[in-house]
């Protein structure tokens, strides 16, 4: 039982990170119907920048740790926002009328560029996250959870709620939803699609930055290649929840996280030891495919009618 509980905890932590990144994918997709492949890389940059800043500030010792962290997070978010904006401007805006596949390839190109630039800047080695946070372990029902994990989950939750507020309570949010519905109509209503889209990218990037920092803090390291896999998982999560749907991304992220850790933990017993944790991704993808076969537009995705 305590094992099961522990797996749920593991899944929850992993899932809330996926969810944060998935939001970026789903928001951009909702408006542009574009898979922003480079989003995972933005996450990586977030982690890297934060580490870089901390490495500068901490040894100096002049600033208290809290300030250092604040600066690190703030700096990372700022850089990523600018990066998101730049990506939209340079790589995607010129292609809005082009076939979607063209944009997809550009996105792939951008992510390759970001990866290798990161490699040139921060090197090929793994970078370790300075141990600024004193790890506390709490135990309940035989399951362990650290203060860091709790922070991650809570922070993720907070950000998601904030985003929901933004999308459903503010003018910008209304503009976003309008643009997502029909860019042309929105334009007629006096919404400037370009600025809305820019805003979307910026917000997504900010969330990605936070996620990236969480990841590198949680695992204690960062690497120029780490964005790819994260992005892939997050994108799957977004699709699982119904891409284009904000709530769906959150649900999908958490769900994927839990499915993965339960899969890793129980696929052996389930299959009588025939399959082991080496098939955990098979398990995850299998669930994804099942969901899509029965709900072709994801869990919360509204049925997209015949649009030709």
């Amino acid at each position: 039982m305590d094992i099961f509980l522990q797996q749920i905890v593991n899944g929850l932590v992993l899932g809330s990170i996926y969810a944060l990144i998935a939001l970026g994918y789903t928001m951009v997709y909702g408006i542009l119907e574009l898979i922003n492949f480079a989003h995972g890389e933005v996450t990586m940059v977030g982690g890297m920048v934060c580490i870089a800043i901390l490495q500068v500030l901490l040894p100096a010792g002049s600033v208290p740790v809290v300030v250092a962290i604040a600066l690190g997070v703030g700096g990372a978010m700022l850089v990523c926002m600018l990066l998101g904006l730049a990506i939209e401007r340079v790589a995607y805006r010129p292609l809005r009328r082009a076939p979607r596949l063209t944009a997809l390839i550009t996105a792939i190109g951008v992510s390759i560029v970001l990866q290798n630039s990161a490699m040139l800047i921060w090197g090929k080695q793994y970078v370790s996250f300075p141990e600024v946070i004193e790890i506390q372990r709490y135990e309940f029902g035989g399951a362990h959870i650290t203060n860091l994990q709790i922070t991650i989950v809570l922070l993720a939750l907070l950000l998601m709620i904030a985003l929901l507020m933004l999308v459903y309570r503010t003018r910008l949010g209304r503009a976003m939803r309008a643009t997502a519905q029909s860019p042309d109509l929105a334009a007629l209503m006096g919404v400037n699609p370009n600025s809305v889209i820019a805003a979307t990218f910026i917000i997504g990037a900010a969330l990605a930055a936070v996620a990236g920092i969480m990841v590198s803090a949680y695992y204690g390291l960062a690497h120029y290649y780490m964005g790819f896999l994260l992005g892939l998982k997050a994108f799957s999560a977004a699709v699982l929840g119904g891409i284009g749907n904000v709530a769906g991304a959150m649900l999908g992220g958490i769900l994927l996280g839990i499915v993965e850790s339960l899969g890793a933990g129980y696929i052996g017993p389930l299959t009588g030891g025939f399959l082991g944790s080496n098939y955990q991704d098979v398990f995850a993808f299998f669930v994804l495919i099942l969901v899509l076969v029965f709900r072709p537009s994801g869990l919360l995705g509204e049925r997209v009618g015949e649009r030709a």
Binding site: N10, L221, A264
Partner: protein, 396 residues
Amino acid sequence: MHSQRNLVWFSVAVLLSAVLAFSGCSRKDQAENTADGALIIKIGQVSPLTGPQAHLGRDNDNGARLAIDEANVRGVTLGGQKVKFVLLSEDDQADPKTATIVAQKLVDAQVKGVIGHLNSGTSIPASKIYYDAGIPQISPSATAIKYTDQGFKTAFRTMTNDRQQGRVLGEFLVKKMGGKRVAIIDDRTAYGQGLADEVEKAVKASGGELVAREYTSDKVMDFSAILTSIKGKNPDVVFFGGMDPQGAPMAKQMQSLGLKAKFLGGDGLQTPEFLKLAGAAAEGATASSPGLPIDGMPGGKAFRDKFTAKYGVIQNYAPYVYDAVTAMITAMEKAGSAEPAKYLAELPNIHFTGVTGEIGFDAKGDVLGGAITLYRVKAGKWEVMETVVSGTPLKK
């Protein structure tokens, strides 16, 4: 009508490509002499100079350069003809396909021998090309059993293979670390899986019980799920076959999950990198590394001084590369020729004391008398525990 138009375009495309192919300007190398009439002998070196393992690749490159330079300074004459060695380094990006391409490149360049490749996954496909060309290949760091198991008489290595290392680790795990209940994790790479399987065999052979066999990949950072289910089986030792980027967070997550078992790894973990990434969690971790500790090596101290003076800190395999080059040159001198056909026959007969210990090859091309050393992290440093001679004892 499309079809015809397509054909026209197709031919255009082909032409374009041909032009493009030629545009990659390059010159062909012939056997030439230096000013002072010394015959130039080309020796190839292949390792990943890019990608995540670039630091190791560069290290191998430096090791080879050091050996070559020394040989040239010493001055080598083969069959009365004074020779000068030249090193050609190629990057195989740790990718099998690229490995075959650069191998072909070296064969084209008429190298007399090849030092490399660094990874098993690249050494194996490349070994066929060298074998077909009859060019001797000595890998300093490929540990997969298969490498020397293919029956290619051109393939040698100066480092103990997975079986030798795995056996030592397994026995040590059970007998010295007191591992009754053992959990084994591998990263599903050729290296990790190969080593883990050998360790599993050895553990069972020496009476340990395998309570869990879990798997991960060489790209992920989250192991909490598998560690949790391992915790359920409460083992007293966890062995991980893989590299430091995974090993370090694994050690951390074992802590935060309250998994008390001892942590053991292979040479992929016995690196300064692991200490850096795992921080406090590294304390008490144990790992093996083929060969003697650098200071325990016959020529260790001297070598390190020379190396660090020239290239800075030794990453990992440089000493084995150094010995690989020495072995090759020794065989050439014994045969009095750098012609592969001639000195290849001598390679199995050579025997000398290299930096890493007694060097000699068995019938398969594996190194004889390979030693394995075990280290433990104490106060944030790797400390030598003991050295075990694993390979077949040297015939004197």
